[in-house]
Every structure is written in C-alpha cells, then in structure tokens.
C-alpha cells in the first residue's frame, strides 16, 4: 500500500489503467489513512467512506467494460466543504449549515464524478472561506502536516493539509483572495487559481462573486494541470463562465520550455514585509531561472499598495449581500427566540447563533461600506483601484510573459498567533489578492524550506487573463529546476505524519 500513499494522481491513474491497482484498492487505502490520521490534522469535516467506495467500484467496472476514461479515472479526490455535494453534507465551515445535504451538485463536482473520481470527503475551511488559517472554522482548525502546532493556511487549509499529509492524492479548493495559493505555499504543495470564469462557480457557496474561483490543490504541477483540464469549461449555469476554452494545461506542462521566457519581478512585492527565509528562497528561484536562460525584468505596479485595502471593502460588500440568503427560511439553522417573535427577530437570532465572529465582522463591515454616504468614498474608490491594478498589470505584461512574487509573506505561523488581530491576518494575502481583483490566473509552487524555521515556502506565478497555459508552463519549469536539485518534489521532505 505504500506505493499508493504518496504517489501522484497521475501515477495512480496509470496504476489503475494498467491494472496494477484498482480504484477500490486506492480509495480504501486513502480512507484507512484518513480515519487514522484525520484526528491529528482535522483536514476533513466529513469522510465519505461508503459513497466513495461505491463510486470506486463503478470506476473499476467502467474500466472493465472498456468504456472511455478520463485522465484521472478512478483517482479519489477531496472536495472543499463550500462546494455542494448531493451525497455528503455541505457546511462551508459554519454552524448555520450544520447537517445540510444539498439537492444539487456543484458543476465541478458533477465533472469529477463524470471523470470517474470517487469523492473521499469534504475538507475544512474558515467559515464561508473568510480567513487564511482555518482558525475561523466553526469545527476547529486544521493542522499543518509539517508542524501540527501551525496553521495549514486558509481558507482552504483542509484541502492543503489533506493533500500535503497524503490524506488525499489531490483536492478541489476555492480562491477569493488567496485561499488556494496561500495554503499551498505554507504546506509545500501546489495550488492554482485559474482565470476568473475558466471554471464554473455553480454550486460554490459564494463569498465574493466577482473574486471567487475554483481550482486544483495537488502535490505537483502535472496533477494540477490534469485536474484543471477536467473541471474547466463553459457552464450555462454560471453567467460569468467564459464561453471559450483556454486550451490544454496538460500540454503546456509537457511542452514547457524556458526558451525566450521573460519573467517580471514586481518591485512592490519582492522585499519589504517578507520574512528573510521567504525572500532568500524567492531570490534563489530567480537565480535558477536566470541560469536556465530566462530574462528577468523588474516591473512597477504602484497600485498594488492599495490592493489589500480595496479587497477588504469589495469582499465584505459582496459577502454581506451573498450571506443574506442565510435567513432561517429555506434551509439551514433556525433559532426561535422566546415568546412569539416576528420573522425578523427569528432571522437575527439565527444569524447571531449560526455565524462566527469573523463572518459577523465582515458582514457588518460590508454593510457599512455599502451604506449611503460612504458608498462612493469606499466601495466606489475600491472599484477604481481594481481598474488601476488591471492597468498596472497590462503594462507589466507588455515586457514580461509572467510575473513572479513570493506567494506568502511568511511561512506557516502558529495556531493562535494572529487570531485576535484581524488586520494582521488580512496581510497574509498581500501578494495573492491582486490576481483576484484583476481576474488573472495565479499559482503557487514550492521553492524550498525557509532557512530560519525549515518550513515550506512558495513562489507565485501570475499570467495575463486567459493565459493559464503560460502559468502552467512556468510552474513546470520551476518545478523541474527544483526537483532536479532535490531529487523529488518538496513534499517528500515532509515529516512522517504517523509519528508526529
């Protein structure tokens, strides 16, 4: 079984197709490990044992019948718990949705089912994806497999800890300001946020609709490409879904070549505010790319200075309206105050009990930002900053094919370290937020361990909108440069979770 746990999703798919292992064997191996180790990492809110084994059995039958197979046929996958699934509860990390089993599958869930991928379980997240550590989950924080006293990033810390701890070969995440990329960076895994609209958001419990995007969480770049190719594509259920295909990410990875590559380093995101070891790793990545033949240019993105501020106006504004649907009427929790209360009092009591502190904070902040008298100054200005950021990026992409930044300002911090300082927590996303504001693709790839604490660090690759293939190309180049140095992906250096 050791050849199953730790193998890449691509390798597992190969084992299935060559009949060296069945989907049932592989799925069982992961379920056993999940049941044993999830108490340590709290990666999963729900383990989908019976249904996933049934799905694995069907995948094996499909293969035996000689039917056409997807590139990841039979490979089991973990799903972030803000994606609706008809065969498992969907809580979005909130008490207000405890026990809710949706009546429809998210489009990405339907697509992975179609691809013959059994669903291992639902992964933990900060409540409604609001946070960067999973400490705001109503069901307790997930823990980082590199050091169980530290956060696995957020909001998708359930998916990142599951994948980096080999409690799943790969997972789905969602990224509104960095919720796929930041967790990937601090757990030594790979995470990609596709171009806005490349993947349907139908069935994703919305946080901020103009920023949210679903993407892959994996242990290597090829697995991410394979998964993006499965989940991408137009969906009539999502009116913001792109009408055109962005091509094959898998081909981009296979054909990756450094020849002629122009790499931009963002002046505003390369020095100040980054931990020394993270900076040192980033410089190392740039040196490696230079040695391999890439041209490095410095690019100036002055409006990035305003990105976090704009984000924390736009996000709460959109979230406060998106979360109005949790009103105790159609689904979810209902709390009855004493006496004969009006519906309004029932709603207020339900939302008081059902929402945690960060969700309340952001709803109240969003309500403030949208209120008359402040709307133009705050929300209006934030939307203009979005335009300025797009203009900065357009200029930068005239001289560079991709931009690189460190993914996160620090390595994984300790659980509890930032929980009482919302503003400090918000700054974790300083390098990832511009991509969401501009709608461009962004991806984090491991680039080593920080010298001062021995914890993983990541490099972020940003590409122009719709050029996800260019991002995967560069991710693959960087991965190859490091794997040739390390002999194996970074994740192979992680401690053994069984003895932690």
């Amino acid at each position: 079984m050791t050849d199953i746990i730790g193998a890449s999703a691509a390798t597992l798919a190969e084992m299935i197709i060559t009949k060296n292992a069945s989907s049932v064997e592989i799925t069982s191996a992961f379920l056993d490990r999940m049941e044993k180790l999830n108490p340590k990492t709290n990666s999963y809110l729900h383990i989908n044992r019976e249904n996933s084994l049934e799905q694995a059995k069907n995948a094996d039958k499909h293969l035996a019948d000689g039917k056409p197979l997807s590139a990841l046929h039979g490979v089991p996958i973990a799903v972030k718990d803000n994606l609706t699934t008809t065969d498992a509860p969907t809580t979005s990390g909130s008490k207000i949705l405890e026990g809710w089993v949706p009546q429809y599958d998210a489009t990405v869930v339907a697509k992975i089912r179609q691809a013959g991928m059994p669903i291992l379980g639902k992964t933990n997240l900060d409540e409604f994806a609001m946070g960067s550590s999973t400490e705001f989950s109503a069901y307790g924080p997930s823990r980082n497999p590199w050091d169980l006293g530290r956060i696995p990033g957020g909001s998708g810390g359930g998916s990142s800890s599951a994948v980096s701890g080999h409690l799943a070969p790969l997972a789905l995440g969602s990224d509104t300001g960095g919720s796929i990329r930041f967790p990937a960076a601090v757990t030594g895994s790979v995470g990609a946020k596709p171009t806005y609209g490349a993947v349907s958001r139908y069935g994703l419990i919305a946080l901020a609709s103009s920023l949210d995007q679903i993407g892959p969480v994996t242990n290597d770049v090829m697995d991410a490409a394979l998964l993006q190719d499965i989940i991408a594509g137009h969906d009539p259920h999502d009116s913001t879904s792109l009408p055109n295909s962005l091509g094959s990410m898998t081909n981009a990875v296979r054909e990756a070549d450094v020849k002629g590559l122009r790499v931009g380093v963002v002046k505003q995101l390369s020095s100040d505010g980054f931990q020394d070891g993270v900076k040192e790793r980033f410089e190392d990545t740039i040196e490696k790319l230079t040695a391999a033949g890439a041209t490095i240019v410095e690019v100036d993105c002055p409006s990035f200075e305003y990105a976090v501020a704009a984000y924390y106006l736009i996000l709460p504004a959109e979230a406060s309206s998106n979360l109005a649907k949790f009103d105790s009427v159609r689904f979810g929790l209902r709390v009855m105050p004493e006496g004969n209360p009006t519906i309004e009092r029932v709603m207020a009591a339900t939302r008081e009990h059902g929402f945690g502190p960060e969700v309340k904070r952001r709803i109240i902040l969003g309500t403030y930002a949208l209120s008359s008298g402040y709307y133009d100054a705050y929300y209006g200005s934030a939307q203009k900053v979005r335009t300025l950021i797009q203009q900065d990026l357009a200029k930068a992409f005239e001289v560079a094919d991709v931009l690189l930044t460190p993914t996160a300002p620090t390595t994984a911090f300790k659980i509890g370290e930032k929980i009482n300082d919302p503003l400090a927590m918000y700054l974790n996303d300083i390098a990832t937020i511009p991509a969401n504001l501009a709608g461009i693709p962004g991806m984090s790839v491991p680039n080593g361990l920080a010298k001062e604490d021995g914890l993983p660090s990541g490099v972020q690759i940003l590409a122009p909108a719709m050029q996800d293939a260019q991002m995967y190309r560069v991710a693959s180049i960087i991965e190859k440069l490091y794997v040739s140095e390390w002999g194996a992906p970074l994740i192979s250096q992680a401690p053994d979770l069984e003895v932690l």
């Binding site: 913001t240 924390y312 689904f331 008081e352 209006g380 203009k384 919302p422 709608g439 461009i440």
Partner: protein
C-alpha cells in the same frame, strides 16, 4: 480615526439582521475602527477620471435560449426547510401583533 461608534455597530448589525451582545458591540467597534482606518487609504488612491471595475472579465448580455430545463421539484426545494406546510416555506409573522 474613524467613527465606528458602538451605536453605529448596533445600527449596522440591525440592518444586517444579526443580534449582537453588548460585549460584541464594544469589540466590533474597536476592531472595525482599526480596519476602516486602514482600508480608507483607497480614497487617496484615485483621482476623478478612473472607471470603476465591478467585474474582472467584462461580459454583458449573457443570454440563453428560452427553453424549460429540469429544475428542483417542490418537494426537493422544501426538503431542507426548517419548517413547511401545504407545499410552502413556513415562517413566523412578518408584523408584530400590536
């Protein structure tokens, strides 16, 4: 320093349909003041003639054919409701009796 007073927090919470305790009001007033002071820098970022971006990838007039597609049955739609009666969602009175 911004003026996120306890009274303003109470008002915003009431608009948001969230009951808040006195302790939460004090806590949020302090935290939100710090956050608003920090995000207020956006007002200095832009001068007049910059267009607002509400959506990162502009798309307009996204239509589909006007055909009936499968949707949830009434039973499915009501299946997760805290309370229902006669095929409808059931809620408390909207208006006070007095």
């Amino acid at each position: 320093m911004s003026e996120i007073t306890p009274d303003l927090v109470r008002h915003l919470a009431s608009l948001s349909r969230i009951l808040v305790t006195d302790q939460e009001v004090e806590q949020f007033a302090g935290e939100l003041s710090v956050i608003v002071d920090s995000v207020a820098m956006v007002t200095k970022a832009v001068s007049g003639d910059v267009a607002a971006t509400s959506h990162p990838i502009p798309m307009a007039n996204v239509y589909r054919e006007d055909v009936i597609l499968p949707s949830l049955t009434q039973e499915q739609a009501l299946s997760a409701a805290p309370d229902s009666a006669d095929g409808r969602f059931k809620v408390n009175a909207i208006l006070d009796e007095d």
